[in-house]
Amino acid sequence: MIKLKKFGLGLLISLFLSFTANAGSIKIGTEGAYPPWNSKDASGALIGFEVELAEELCKIMGHDCTIVEQDWDGMIPALVGRKFDAIMAGMSITAERKKTINFSDGYADEVASLAVMKGSKNEGLKTMSAINLSEISADEQATLDVLTKAFKGKTIGVQTATIHQNFLESGLMGKVTVRTYKTQDEVNLDLEAGRIDAALAAAVAFTDYAEKSGKAVVLTGPTFAGGDFGNGVGVGIRKSDQKLLNDFNRAIDKARDEGIISKLAIKWFGFDASM
């Protein structure tokens, strides 16, 4: 019995030590399935724009960082549940998410786009090339009307819990059947299989897929920004962690000024997606 008690005490002490040893370190959660933002290489190691940016930001902050993987649909609950301390997962800053967590200043931005398979009736729609939903002009409304007509009654696939899902459910594009998937990979697979008529995601997610898989996925219609699409991608942080938020904001400022973010963005996106 005494032995057991000693063992228990030892266990407690070692637990305590392991906690204190980690005091200066933070864990960053990412999805690892949304290239080029974050993904995995053939050996299963996390790679991507945000993985490298996280390392740079941690260097500037002087924190010891570990990057951990988390499924997209559990990302915010996992942050709130203290599985990790920050989210860097291509997560756009939106009013809806801000009710639950805080966001750092944006570090990069990207536009969303619809995609169809080559040969689809809705390939090469005649619309504006880009629309911003923050204030919808008459021309932009006309473009939305074209989309509404083209995709009436069609099934569009999106990754679950994304700005893309929010937009389709907002009704700005009329009545479409929204099918939600756990990962963007699955959206791409079903688009290619023809189970869905179109898909909506970050434009780079489709171009990256088309390039790597050789499948005839093409963008169509305008690119989307503003409104439901949020204001850029930032680091998600628990509301109670004001200090960490300030640290990240300072680090992002510095990385931006030194051109680190631009450099990484060009490396991964092929264009300067930094902001």
């Binding site: 649909d73 609950p77 709130v80 809806e96 819990a161 939600t180 699955e186 079903d190 023809g194 189970r195």
Partner: protein
């Protein structure tokens, strides 16, 4: 704990339970026929039929249901030739893909349950039938099957409960069943605990109903 969310999500989850029940009942009906078919094959002396049935049950009991759904949904969807055939009408729909996977899975377990039930029938029952000059066919339908069903009730009740819980995997192929809708609500509220407690409660209630139904049937058809 957000009790308001639990209350507001309850009717939505209840609605989704209908999808779960539909998936479950269709899978069980198809699965029962598949199971019976393969159980009978297992009792045959023909080595080829016997091994074929054994192989089927071995494969479907030896791999996770999730993997089976993924192979049928995402895997078969990748075969371009298949998309040009009539089969695609069915395989295009996530609903039918899920039912095919569930039916094949529960069919494998059901075939094992029924096989062992057939094998435990006392030879005396069959001999009694034969001594009365009843044909083998009638003996099979009127004596062996009813007894086998009675014998397999407790094990089959467990299989129904396992399958009911298994239908939650339908949410992985975009279906909005009970789990699918729970995940959907969580995707906008970011509160998994509340929603999953309600969903779990509904699953538990279904188990309660199935369990008692089987218990009643066991009593009703019991013999000493």
């Amino acid at each position: 704990m957000d009790f308001d969310l639990m209350i507001t999500s309850f009717p939505k989850l209840l609605n989704a339970t209908l999808v779960t029940l539909k998936l479950l009942s269709l899978s069980l009906v198809f699965g029962l026929f598949i199971g019976l078919f393969f159980a009978v094959l297992r009792l045959r002396k023909n080595i080829f039929l016997n091994k074929f049935a054994y192989g089927y049950s071995y494969v479907f009991r030896g791999t996770p249901l999730l993997v089976q759904i993924f192979i049928i949904y995402f895997g078969l969807g990748q075969i371009e030739y298949l998309r040009t055939t009539i089969l695609w009408v069915v395989l295009k729909e996530p609903y039918w893909c899920a039912i095919i996977a569930f039916a094949l899975n529960t069919g494998a377990y059901t075939s094992e349950i029924l096989r062992s039930a057939f094998q435990t029938i006392k030879p005396g029952f069959i001999e009694a039938g034969k001594s009365l000059g009843i044909s083998n066919k009638i003996i099979f339908y009127k004596i062996q099957i009813p007894i086998a069903i009675r014998q397999s009730l407790p094990a089959y009740g467990n299989e129904i409960i396992l399958m009911m819980k298994g239908t939650s995997l339908a949410s992985t192929v975009t279906l909005l069943d009970l789990t699918g809708v729970a995940k959907y609500i969580i995707s906008t509220t970011f509160k998994p605990v509340e929603v999953f407690i309600v969903a779990g409660g509904i699953y538990l209630f279904m188990t309660f109903i199935i369990h008692n139904l089987i218990k009643y049937l066991e009593k009703r058809f019991g013999y000493q």
